[in-house]
Subunit: 470 residues, 2 copies
């Protein structure tokens, strides 16, 4: 009776090609891929929605718990490990396709039981087994058992050639991947438009979280990350939704959809809770918008994203100098990190099967290189992507200006960067909040392309969306 | 700026009293409570919505990650372990109340850093440390480190006196808990009414999942478990939502809300996808409804829930005999488990801070006793609650009739219970699906009380809700 099992795959050739490429890149040994398990909330069988590991999805496509796989380069063999449901399990969970049938859809011809993976690896020296760093505790435990290595030593044993190979493949998005990402971003934009039209003074932030969660699921996918919908936009990763929307304040909305195939979108807009921004809000909004535009126009292959980040920092510093909050030589100010009082985070990050694409594999491999290392300076140290852009890279551009009283007090007490910051002027901005604007782009051979349906960005266009508020 | 931190607590006295009671029940040693951590989806910092451990909530109330606690009975001391945000963390995550202030709101006067718990326990013999069975892998790892015991030995080392003490306290709901549960159930009922009014032929099941997820969050809480919304109601725990709603089929909806304080509701209704049930559907619906009514009327202190389960099984068997699907002596049929072809699961379960309340502590303690052990027979072995009911118990009553072609084929091939089942008549029911009706009750001194706002149950009342469909 259950004809559509809900498993969506690219063509068999896609997965075969990807696996063939990673074999060539790593060259020898056994590549171990651990899928994810169900994740328990408040008791074992009360599960969060299942989320498969993204690298497993990239090479094996199968969006089901309890799977693992080996690409044995030495033996030229690929094996998928997992178990079919018993008849009694099918009573509870339904009839799913046999694992062997699923394997054939992705071009894998060997299937074995989930437990047999330990036999397969039992006599393999651990330095022949390439694995990726685990981010879920159960997979760390599995690796510890499979490799016969104490759990505390697992993270440091991950294979750098394997990591680098996966990063080089996943960093360049194919046309079929771009189609999925465009879908994710367009859904994300539609969710933002709904909030722009329907957010009203008196609402609680969580009512808007409810709206966007429902819209993401209604699209056939889900959210790509826990939404940030807050009247305290100065708090960068704020997951408190208990505040009431009050006219005169701004609402910072940072959320995105994930498609059924798990490709992400990630958009931010900042709106007035009432019909329009105040003059002061619009002034700061315009600075952020200019930095956003300047950064976008600089996107092109061969340019370091670190340099685009610094360009945006300088734009922000110039804007803040024009309204009296910063002062002095702005190249020096940015070099000293003075702008980071207002923009303490990075300009953007890679995006794909993960909203922060491949963050589990390590920013030093995804966003930096052997020669370009991440800065340790407050602000730019939070930039996840610094290296040269290349055609096919997908990334976010998300400058912002934030007024965080805690950080202002701390810097002011330390007289930090006081050559560049007019602390006396900042007293008026303690209740201002924060503004961020974020869109998603693919790098093309000659520049960039905005992904998904364009979404209102100009402060006047956003006010236009807000004008129909009752 | 962030005045309401969103943490909801009962009065200080509630938590002080609960902790005092568990101290008396266990008598000596050190009671170790591990709160939950954030749970990673596809990379470490992309988290599922945080869900605190329910026992931690019961005794310490604090709905925040990274906490643990000890009630040291020997030293008459209670300590909460956790860390305040650093100033830099506050830039990202906001200003939260100091842990010492939160501790004072729950009557705990000692606070210490998260890492100091290992020092506290370093010289305590492990048989003096009482802990509960972990259901999240990271807490199993923590216990292994704290107790200096291999991770494989943790589950068997959980303290039975501690488990029994917690079960005895959490099983009897206080008035303030019942008020929360009524709120959860009423929200769940309102979610069901929305589906009853808005589910339409042509919709995908996931569109309804979107609707109820949004409604649950809009209530200020969340879902209490992953919803079952399916046209394949015969699959008991079906989390596939890819089917299209087709007139003539039925839709089985089993979902509930959890309040902001994490008390659960759990309701099931089965509706016609079109305006009305077919005659055949109504016939089976009526059997389930009668079993539901009979079971409800039997709820009273001192009665074993196992006996009420068997009463419902007999009602179901009688109804199925009347329509020609079962035959023979029905007491014998139920004793042989013949009804379990149609009703392979349990009549209900405890409900509270968990939708299957305290399932992590072990069904043998929550639903059974030292003298009443769970059956191993297919069907009744899935009954989570068998023991005598007592005033203050909260539970679900959820009989159902399911036609699972896989199970029918298996039993028929084995001629299993063929004295009681007319297999030749079952051919017409292979595409029927399944029907379940579920409500939530508290046991009172003289009987029972339906929790929450009453929801349409009669097939005609449900058809009434469906009549406004366009």
């Amino acid at each position: 009776m259950e004809k559509d099992n809900g498993i969506k795959l690219f063509s068999k050739e896609t997965y075969v090609r990807r696996r063939s490429l990673i074999k060539q890149l790593v060259g020898n040994g056994k590549l171990l891929f651990l899928g994810n398990e169900e994740s328990s909330m408040n008791f074992k069988d009360n599960w969060y929605p299942f989320r498969q590991d993204s690298t497993f999805l990239y090479f094996f496509g199968l969006d089901l718990p309890g799977l693992s796989a080996i690409i044995d380069i030495d033996e030229d063999r690929e094996i998928l490990f997992g178990d079919d449901f018993t008849p009694e399990e099918s009573v509870w969970h339904g009839v799913t396709p046999k694992l062997a049938d699923l394997a054939s859809q992705i071009g894998v011809d060997r299937v074995s039981s989930s437990t047999s993976i330990s036999n397969y690896l039992a006599h393999v020296p651990s330095d022949r087994i390439h694995f990726l760093p685990p981010y879920r505790p159960e997979n760390a435990q599995k690796l510890s058992a499979l490799l016969r290595v104490p759990i505390g030593n697992i993270a440091s044993g991950a294979s750098i050639p394997f990591i680098k190979g996966v990063v080089s493949l996943r960093s360049v998005k194919s046309d079929e991947e771009l189609a999925e990402i465009r879908r994710a971003v367009s859904t994300s934009a539609a969710m933002h438009q709904k909030v722009m039209r329907e957010a009203k003074p008196g609402m609680k932030e969580f009512e808007l979280v409810a709206m966007v969660t429902g819209e993401a699921i209604r699209s056939g996918g889900n959210l790509s990350f826990t939404p940030i919908i807050t009247t305290n936009g100065q708090i960068l990763h704020n997951h408190n939704y208990s505040n009431t929307l009050i006219a005169g304040k701004m609402l910072l909305c940072d959320f995105g959809a994930e498609t059924a195939m798990h490709y992400a979108g990630d958009i931010t807009r900042t709106l007035p809770v009432g019909h329009s921004f105040t003059d002061g809000q619009k002034e700061v909004y315009t600075i952020v918008h200019r930095a956003h535009q300047a950064a976008i126009h600089a996107l092109t292959p061969g340019v370091k994203f670190l340099d685009i980040h610094l360009l945006a920092c300088k734009q922000i510093a110039e804007g803040l100098r024009a309204i009296g909050l910063m002062k002095g030589d702005l190249d020096d100010a940015v070099a000293h990190g003075a702008h980071a009082l207002f923009f303490p985070c990075g300009l953007g990050h890679m995006m794909g099967l993960d909203v922060h694409d491949m963050e589990d594999l390590g920013e030093e491999y995804v966003g930096y290189t052997d020669t370009l290392k991440k800065s340790t300076q407050f602000g730019v140290k939070s930039l996840r992507l610094g290296k040269e852009l290349a055609s096919g890279h997908v990334l976010t551009v998300e400058p912002g200006i934030y007024f965080n009283p805690l950080l202002i007090d701390q810097w002011q007490a330390e007289k930090h960067c006081s050559d560049y910051i007019n602390y006396d002027q900042l007293a008026h901005f303690r209740e201002f909040g924060g503004i961020r604007i974020e869109d998603n782009f693919v790098i093309t051979p000659k520049g960039y392309e905005l992904l998904g349906h364009p979404l209102e960005t100009d402060s006047s266009d956003i006010e236009g969306m807000r004008s129909t508020l009752s």
